[in-house]
């Protein structure tokens, strides 16, 4: 049985002109990248465009990818920056300060009452302030790799851990409130 090529191998193969190798990388990460974009932007079309933009930028600057780095961290960082650009453009065009929560949806108490566990958790994550929401989304995508999350966000690892801790505290509170509202 042949072992799956690593992301690093696929990058090398792409740089040697193998288009299929990059297609495999897209297959591996398009869903996660879209997830990050959608969770950050909360808009299907913008998330779609940000995902495309991220892969396009990655493809164009593949030569700058350091072999010792993780491709997932690299592509997530590109995606995160693309999303930040879009958010700041939104802020620019709206003419006023963006609220800490980027999505204008109502708070958890007004949300649909009957939610299953996953939907409830997702709704609670959506209700978090943007900085916490992004950290939780990256924690979801990358697991307990705090260093990788810090690299993507360009923040010190301590800050990431603090954000994650506070995010979890807020999640617990929000989930509790939802439970009370439902009952």
């Amino acid at each position: 049985m042949r072992a799956e090529p690593s992301d690093g191998d696929l990058v090398t193969m792409t740089l040697r002109g193998n288009s299929e190798a990059f297609a495999t990388l897209v297959e591996r990460y398009d869903r996660a990248v879209y997830h990050l974009a959608y969770r950050t932007l909360h808009d299907v079309e913008e998330a779609r465009d940000a995902t495309q933009e991220a892969f396009f930028k990655a493809f164009r600057s593949l030569r700058t990818f350091k072999p010792e780095a993780k491709f997932s961290t690299w592509i997530f960082a590109i995606t995160y920056h693309a999303c930040c650009d879009r958010l700041s453009r939104r802020k620019h065009y709206s003419g006023d300060e963006l609220p800490e929560r980027a999505d204008p949806t109502p708070g958890p108490e007004q949300r649909v009452i009957a939610l299953d566990e996953a939907s409830r958790l997702r709704a609670a994550i959506d209700a978090l302030p943007e900085k916490y929401r992004t950290v939780v989304t990256l924690f979801h995508l990358q697991g307990r790799q705090y260093e990788e999350i810090a690299t993507v966000l360009g923040l010190p690892m301590g800050t990431v851990k603090t954000h994650l801790f506070r995010a979890k505290e807020q999640l617990r509170r929000l989930l509790g409130e939802m439970e009370v509202t439902e009952s």
């Binding site: 897209v26 869903r31 997830h35 995902t51 495309q52 892969f55 958790l121 939780v136 617990r172």
Partner: protein, 130 residues
């Protein structure tokens, strides 16, 4: 089960990690691939475009020249250049010099063609070994 059990630190982390990813919109992967790995190669390379552009510019210049009545001057210039070339090529001494120059270039490329590359690699090896 109370809230603290259900949303304890570990349970909450597990729940976050187990959340399903968002479904990608239809056609997203195809559009990414069409913009990157499977992007059709351009019909002309930069060099080809430059050559075609230059030829186009020369053709346009000629047309403008002919339309403005400068055709006879152009023909005269071409005839002068052609006459000069034919005179040069019919001179045995010039032909001999061209032949000698060509032969020398061929000889130099046959015997010493790979020298610069070898020298360069030796130089870099020496630098690395330093």
């Amino acid at each position: 089960m109370n809230m603290d059990d259900r949303y304890g630190a570990d349970a909450l982390e597990r729940a976050i990690l187990e959340l399903p990813l968002e479904e990608t919109p239809e056609g997203l992967r195809a559009s990414i691939l069409m913009a990157t790995a499977y992007r059709p190669a351009p019909a002309f390379s930069f060099f080809e475009l430059a050559v075609v552009g230059s030829l186009g510019a020369v053709a346009l210049w000629l047309i403008v020249l002919l339309v403005m009545g400068g055709g006879s001057l152009f023909v005269h210039t071409l005839a002068t250049i052609g006459a000069g070339l034919s005179r040069a090529l019919s001179n045995p001494a010039i032909l001999a010099w061209i032949a000698a120059g060509g032969a020398t270039a061929l000889w130099v490329s046959l015997f010493t063609g790979s020298q610069p590359a070898v020298a360069a690699s030796r130089r870099s090896e020496r630098r690395a070994g330093r």
